[in-house]
């Protein structure tokens, strides 16, 4: 049974998507339950996958689709799914965020995409299939197809929003296609030289035939990196992201913001360490290592400053994502295990905290009806529960212990110090400081309201009742996801050592 887990994770939401579309004509109200169940099953399976993968016997599950046995010389014929502990963790993050986000969308789907609810649930499940596939597949071309599946579904999901969303979806189509095509081109060059598409086999052929220095391999690497960077919104290529995530329907934004870029970072680490290999990527004769770290510094600084300049809360968060992508790219390129593992740990922790912040921001925008920062006036009194969730996410963004953001920053800075890349260390600290300004600006408003504010009544027994407005907390279906997300922000922080050790062990193998 356990050997079929990888494919089951994909099949359950895939069929869920079909069922939802079929159901949608007759009983649209059951779409929510169906997708909740399918994603629930999927995330339970992926949780078990983590356990299976971690139990010592099976370090890596390999699943040959269609039962194609490898050739006599050891090369794979069919498409292979490959799940190690890293993939299992990311898959769990994807399916679980999908599951929790579905809870969140209970009331929002009906309100924001009237008449298209079944399609929304179908698309979001397909998106999850695509993301999980990206993480698990061990076939370079299959990876392309899955990237395009996620892209297509996300174009459609974003376009379900208002007219600005439609426009940003169009821009996303253009940028996304360029990115994916670059990736495809890179795979083509690899195929020319190696004659295989299986990631492990490509690595093997590159090593056996000593193709590292060949120009087409270098070209392939550059093309693949450019493609992946476009997809993950690495700084100069980030143009599509802020508008797309900010204007998309709220339950789409809450799902895509934490996951899409992070999964692409995972792809980047996979490509760097598994496809091309340590000695090729970090070797001294390529100038790119220094260059890319400087680019990530630029991404971090620019992302933070752009976020600081926004007054729209969701836009601000999207620019923070751009900065966080810079963290991870830089960490992965530092060239030591600490940095790589830090970047990987940050995939998980950033997913948790972005999810948390996006849900909180969506709730606030929904209730207050204003997406600018002054929406936060006095919110600690009006919506204390939402603000607690928001605060946890924000503290993690700033990087204060014991949230997971602190520890990912810790590991990334450690990696930077170890590699002697002080500019990267400085950029991380700069971004922490800017985040502190951004979020404490919000806290101050949320705590005290407007500057002009007259003091509240001076009754010695201060009551927590709020007299002035009708702004109230949202229904449980939106608060529960928020608390699960903020719980995970703390849990990842507390469990950081265990997680980091798993990640480090898995990555160390690839660094020798």
């Amino acid at each position: 049974m356990t050997e079929h887990f990888p494919i089951l994770i994909l099949l359950v939401p895939l069929f869920g998507a079909l069922i939802v579309v079929l159901l949608g004509r007759e009983r649209p109200e059951q779409c929510w339950v169906t997708s909740l169940v399918s994603l629930g099953i999927s995330s339970i399976i992926s949780l078990f996958t983590i356990i299976v993968v971690f139990s010592d016997k099976v370090q890596t599950i390999r699943y040959r689709m269609g039962g194609w046995e490898p050739e006599a010389n050891g090369y794979e014929v069919g498409i292979e799914l490959r799940v190690d502990i890293l993939a299992a963790l990311v898959v769990f993050a994807v399916t679980f965020v999908g599951f929790v986000n579905t809870i969140y969308s209970k009331t929002r789907a009906e309100a924001e995409v009237q008449g298209k609810v079944p399609f929304f649930y179908a698309l979001i499940q397909l998106l999850i299939v695509g993301l999980c596939g990206i993480v698990m597949t061990n076939d370079a071309f299959n990876l392309y197809v899955l990237i395009e599946i996620t892209s297509l579904t996300s174009y459609a999901l974003i376009a379900m929003g208002n007219r600005r969303a439609v426009l940003s979806s169009f821009n996303y189509v253009i940028m996304g296609t360029i990115g994916a095509s670059f990736y495809l081109l890179g795979v083509g060059y690899l195929y020319i030289k190696t004659g295989t598409l299986n990631i492990d086999d490509i690595r093997m052929v590159l090593g056996n035939d000593n193709l590292w220095e060949h120009q087409s391999i270098v070209v392939a690497f550059i093309f693949i990196m450019l493609g992946v960077w476009t997809k993950m919104a690495f700084f100069p290529l980030h143009g599509w992201l802020p508008n797309a995530y900010a204007y998309a329907p709220s339950m789409t934004g809450t799902f895509m913001a934490p996951l899409m870029t992070k999964v692409m970072v995972y792809v980047m680490i996979r490509v760097m360490l598994w496809l091309f290999g340590y000695e090729f990527v970090y070797s001294g004769q390529h100038v790119w290592k220094e260059l890319i770290i400087w680019m990530s510094v630029l991404a971090i600084v620019a992302g933070s400053l752009l976020a600081l300049a926004r007054t729209d809360i969701k836009k601000m968060l999207t620019y923070l994502i751009v900065a966080e992508v810079g963290y991870m790219v830089g960490g992965a390129w530092l060239g030591n295990v600490t940095g790589q593992a830090g970047a990987f740990y940050h995939i998980l922790s950033d997913a948790a905290m972005t999810f948390c912040l996006f849900i909180a921001a969506s709730i606030i925008v929904l209730r207050v009806g204003d997406s600018r920062v002054n929406a936060f006036d006095n919110l600690f009194r009006k919506m204390p529960l939402t603000m607690i969730g928001f605060t946890v996410g924000a503290l993690s963004m700033i990087g204060l212990p014991p949230t997971c953001g602190f520890f990912s920053k810790w590991y990334l800075i450690s990696g930077g110090i170890e590699a002697g890349q002080w500019e990267y260390v400085c950029a991380l600290i700069f971004s922490s400081l800017v985040n502190a300004i951004i979020f404490f600006r919000i806290f101050e408003r949320a705590y005290f309201g407007k500057i002009a504010g007259v003091k509240e009544d001076l009754s010695p027994s201060d009551s927590d009742a709020n007299p002035d407005t009708g702004i109230k907390e949202v229904p449980w279906s939106m608060l529960v996801p928020l608390f699960i997300a903020s719980g995970f922000v703390l849990l990842l922080g507390i469990m950081n050592r265990t997680l980091f050790e798993w990640i480090q062990t898995a990555l160390e193998v690839m660094n020798t």
Partner: protein
């Protein structure tokens, strides 16, 4: 013709002409996607861009003197195992008798079937999106759309 140019053409362009064509096509596509003002023209650029890559893949599968990669046990042409076939065809088939140089590499072509499907669906989706843009903005010119967004919107 200048000998240097002739030499260059002979060494770099003629043997690699498929790469040159795909690069030129890709650049045309990229140019259209980035600079054109009309959204449909951008999409046409996108289609050219994707087709260029398909061309690239298809061309790398081609071999000199290679035919269609279909193994026909009955047809005589492009089939070099005819003499062995008569005695124990099914047995020999399992062994390494097929001369791979006689056939074009089928794998890139198969891959491109998928890529074409992906490209078509991207294009279809993009066209649907531009239809919605036209409905809500009344135009498909990018500058006009941005103008319409300016007074009310920020960014």
């Amino acid at each position: 013709m200048d000998p240097i140019i002739a030499n260059f053409i002979e060494e770099n362009i003629v043997p690699k002409f498929n790469y040159w064509i795909y690069v030129i096509l890709m650049m045309i596509g990229l140019y259209a996607m980035i600079t054109k003002n009309n959204l449909i023209k951008k999409l046409i650029g996108m289609a050219i861009f994707q087709t260029a890559i398909i061309l690239f893949y298809v061309s790398i599968g081609v071999k000199e003197d290679g035919g269609i990669p279909i193994i026909s046990h009955h047809g005589p042409d492009h089939h070099q195992e005819t003499e062995a076939h008569s005695e124990a065809g099914s047995e020999n088939l399992k062994h390494n008798i097929i001369d791979k140089d006689k056939y074009a590499n089928p794998l890139p072509h198969v891959l491109m079937l998928t890529a074409i499907v992906v490209g078509v669906s991207t294009l279809g989706l993009a066209l649907a999106i531009s239809q919605r843009i036209h409905k809500s903005f009344g135009t498909l010119e990018e500058d006009e759309i941005l103008n319409k967004l300016r007074p009310g919107g920020h960014d």
